[in-house]
């Protein structure tokens, strides 16, 4: 039998019982759509995280107070306290190195911002001038934090685009005084409207000098120190330099955690890849269920078509031909169902992108290939049993069953 005729014959068989065929196609397509959609979402989440970290630059080192490996030993960590704060002096000490390109100490808190009776809760970041480059921020109007001694608590602020819109509307803001947590400060700049960084929407931020932030938050410590290395090759040396400097300043204790952007990135990348694979795998189970459905329906169909199979054998079809005919039916179901599923999956991920543009849920090519491959494989494997049963039918008995 010619391949084209085999497909035609199988299509006629499938077309003769439309409801049954439609149900099997539905099961197959839902399975494939689930694989495509879920891996798409997983991959989208991974790309999002990777993008967030990459936007900070890969030669970034972050110094966090408290040592990850030793925290569990001290009673202080049980109540969430770090053994010793990082201070602005630590930051200044770290700056004195050839390995450091830029340094930006950071404090974070939430305060209310008021202008002419309008009030809004805003996340406030205290930092220094280099933050603009370290965080890849864009300035729309005015100037960023002044380049001066980090100890000076100058009462100025830079507004995120959204904060500016909500407080000032169409009015000019540069030079205006706003109240931030009860302290007056002057607006010196407004950030551009694009950009998110590490989950914080830069549009919603207010940035102030770090010493001013310490005053606002009533703290002596800093939340984090961001350090940009001169280049990626000196990262390891820089890490050693940081821990040496800090331990010297903290009476011999290495009580900070130093993380590099690179290592976080690699870890997240790995975690999300595994996650994507797992959700894809779970979705693939539905494909196997679809395969079992195909097997059941085909077994039923073989017993209904016993006489017909006997006839084909009497007319000269050999066992292989009978098997090929039935397997072709299953493969066609899988292929058509798979294509419908792919379309559904892509449509679904398109819809998600419309609602959450930051989540690029385009399914990875390997997932598309794997979903189609699994669909075809289950169709093939689960059609073998019914096909073998059909091929082994004794034509005399089969024909006698009218």
């Amino acid at each position: 039998m010619r391949p084209f005729d085999t497909i035609g014959f199988a299509l006629i068989s499938l077309g003769s019982n439309k409801v049954r065929t439609a149900l099997m196609l539905l099961a197959m397509s839902i399975g494939v759509a689930a694989v495509v959609l879920l891996t798409g979402i997983g991959n989208g989440a991974r790309l999002y995280i990777v993008d967030q970290f990459s936007s900070l630059g890969t030669n970034l080192v972050i110094v966090i107070p408290g040592r990850a490996e030793t925290t569990s030993n001290t009673p202080a960590t049980l109540v969430g306290q770090t053994p010793r704060d990082l201070t602005l002096e630590d930051a200044t000490a770290l700056e004195r190195s050839d390995l450091v390109n830029r340094i930006a100490p950071i404090n974070i808190g939430e305060l209310s911002a008021v202008w002419h009776g309008k009030e809004r809760k805003v996340p406030v970041i205290g930092s220094t001038a280099p933050l603009l480059q370290v965080h890849h921020l864009k300035l729309e109007q005015g100037s960023f934090l002044p380049e001066e001694d980090t100890e000076i608590a100058r009462p100025v602020c830079v507004l995120g685009a959204k904060v500016y819109r909500e407080l000032f509307g169409q009015n000019a803001a540069l030079g205006e005084l706003i109240k931030l947590g009860g302290f007056r400060c002057r607006v010196i700049g407004i950030l551009g409207s694009e950009g998110r960084s590490l989950g914080l929407d830069t549009q919603e931020l207010v940035i102030v000098p770090v010493a001013f932030a310490q005053m606002l938050f009533d703290t002596k410590g800093v939340f984090r120190i961001l350090i940009e290395a001169k280049d990626q090759h000196s990262l390891e040396r820089l890490k050693k330099h940081i821990s040496r400097t800090i331990s010297k300043r903290h009476y011999g204790e290495e009580d900070v955690t130093i993380i590099t952007q690179d290592s976080i990135l690699t870890t997240f990348n790995r975690i999300f890849k595994v996650l994507t694979l797992s959700v894809g795998g779970i979705a693939a189970i539905s494909l196997v269920v679809a395969g079992i459905l195909i097997m059941n329906v085909m077994l039923m169909s073989v017993s209904q078509r016993t006489a017909e199979i006997g006839l084909c054998k009497a007319l000269g079809a050999n066992n292989t031909q009978v098997m090929v005919l039935l397997v072709t039916e299953a493969l066609l179901l899988s292929a058509i169902g798979g294509i419908i599923g792919l379309l559904l999956g892509f449509a679904g991920s398109w819809v998600i992108v419309q609602f959450y543009p930051t989540l690029q849920t385009t399914p990875p090519l390997w997932a598309v290939a794997a979903a189609m491959g699994t669909a075809l494989c289950t169709g093939f494997v689960f059609s073998l049993l019914p096909a073998r049963r059909a091929a082994r039918l004794d034509p005399i008995q089969a024909l006698a069953r009218h």
Binding site: D5, I12, G15, E308, A314, A317, N318, Q321, P395
Partner: protein, 225 residues
């Protein structure tokens, strides 16, 4: 053309051996018109199945056109059936979802003949068998007589060495039955070897040679005229 030598076919039913064919020897010449008669359970269908290569004997030899086909494997048997045997059944055995033309072309389709070739043969047969205008009718849109014509067209489309009919009129009214017998006799007049299994003496005695099977043996072998 068909030579059965000392052929036996034994079935085991409920632990008991049943000799459906008991040392049967039979020669059929090319172009012969032969009927096989006998009461039900006599073994006439078994004989037809063995001639048609749907069943293989337990002992004895079967030569078809001089070739020993007794111990061929399944795949080889299918290939020989495809080229040498044409079947006509009591219940027509047309595939309900295929049109008349598709049913007629089925043996050629299974044999891997090109569409163009299939169409040219089936178109000729449809004309010859008085099925004009019925090309695209499905079996349930055809009368009993027309269905059997489609079935006969399907049986002869491969130009088989022998045409085997198992109670071909058993499911038809008298008029349609007579037409079907006329059609088959016409094919025989054109040189087609024809074997008809029937329990209807009126049909059986129209053949030029009549074999009577009783208890798995050939009880009589009569040549008419």
């Amino acid at each position: 053309m068909i030579e059965l030598h000392d052929v036996s076919r034994i079935f085991t039913v409920g632990g008991q051996e049943v000799r459906a064919m008991d040392h049967v020897s039979l020669d059929i010449m090319p172009g012969e018109y032969l009927s096989i008669m006998g009461p039900s359970g006599s073994g006439k269908s078994t004989l037809l199945n063995i001639i048609g290569l749907l069943d293989t004997p337990n002992s004895g030899t079967y030569l078809l056109e001089g070739r020993d086909v007794t111990s061929l494997k399944d795949e080889e048997l299918a290939a020989v059936r495809s080229r040498k045997i044409g079947f006509i059944f009591q219940f027509f055995h047309l595939i309900p979802r295929l049109t008349a033309v598709q049913n007629i072309e089925l043996p050629l389709l299974l044999a891997g003949v090109s569409r163009k070739e299939r169409t040219s043969v089936s178109t000729r047969l449809i004309e010859e068998f008085g099925l004009r205008g019925r090309h695209h009718h499905r079996p349930d849109e055809l009368s009993g007589g027309q269905r059997q014509r489609v079935a006969i067209a399907r049986a002869v489309i491969n130009q088989p060495a022998v045409l085997l009919a198992d109670e071909p009129t058993g499911n038809l009214d008298r008029t349609s039955g007579a037409e079907i017998i006329d059609l088959m006799e016409q094919l025989n007049k054109n040189g087609q070897t024809l074997v008809v299994v029937t329990h209807d003496p009126e049909i059986g005695e129209r053949a030029r040679r009549c074999i009577r099977v009783v208890d798995g043996r050939i009880a009589s072998d009569t040549r008419m005229g």
